[in-house]
Amino acid sequence: MTDAGYVAGGYGVTVVSISAYVAHMWVRNRALTRATATRSDDGAPGGGDPTREGR
């Protein structure tokens, strides 16, 4: 393999790893944000509006 190939490999590994970590955080953030929003809507204990009609 040429030097350029090793350089491409090094930059590729870095970009993929950082992107994967950021994507992982983004997915987790989205799931948790939805979970907190849903709980607020439900009026579940600890969050939201427990006095909402029908609850």
Partner: protein
Amino acid sequence: MTTASRATRILGVATLASLALTAWLALVVSPADVNQGDAVRLLYLHAPTAWLAMYLSFGVTTLASILYLWPRTRSRLWDLVAGASAEVGVLFIGLTLAVGSIWGRTTWGVWWTWDARLTSTAVLFVLYLGYLAVRRVPADPLVRSRRAAIVALAAFIDVPIVHLAVEWWRTLHQPATIFDERRLLDPRIHGTMLWTLLLSVVAFTLLYAWLLIHRVRLARLEELVDDRELADALAERRAEGAAATSVPDEVPGLVPERSGAGVD
């Protein structure tokens, strides 16, 4: 509630711009080395990731752990900062090892050698993986945080060993290019190479700040959801308990029999 804010968006844009500029300088503008050829371009990844992981991430983890252990400054935030910074550090120390291995293959001819610098860095990687594992061991939150903080302080002992390994032992790894107090004013590289390396350090430092802020906010969000789930579970248990104690009065089928027995 999300982990993003106006400040983190601005920081994110600055990070992306500086990383793009670094990539352009590193891959296009910066010249090839006389001895190493194009392989020297890996320097602009290897050195800043090592700086980010070893000194910045694990340094912040240690500082936050000390602040957590110190009774006057103890705060849940310091524990979250320590954990988040260690997680980012583990990612980047892994990248340091991976990129270093690729660089070693093209300059030394081997992917790995049991050199003092390489081995002590691999030990550092495993130590902080262990730290992250300790943070996940089920325990009382206060006990777990204190235990993790002590492990963080113990793990940081390896950082000066990694730094000084190239001086203490005869190693294949080269001495420090810039991060050496004797070479700060007289670094081993000059011109475009030096400025590209300095910019890459700045870009990766911005990236660290962006990742850390998001990871800490994510950890707070995780705690919020956990607290709410615990509150839900407790409320369900209380409701079940209340229902169980009031069954004789509330089950409709039982009422006529009891009242009927009274009439007869």
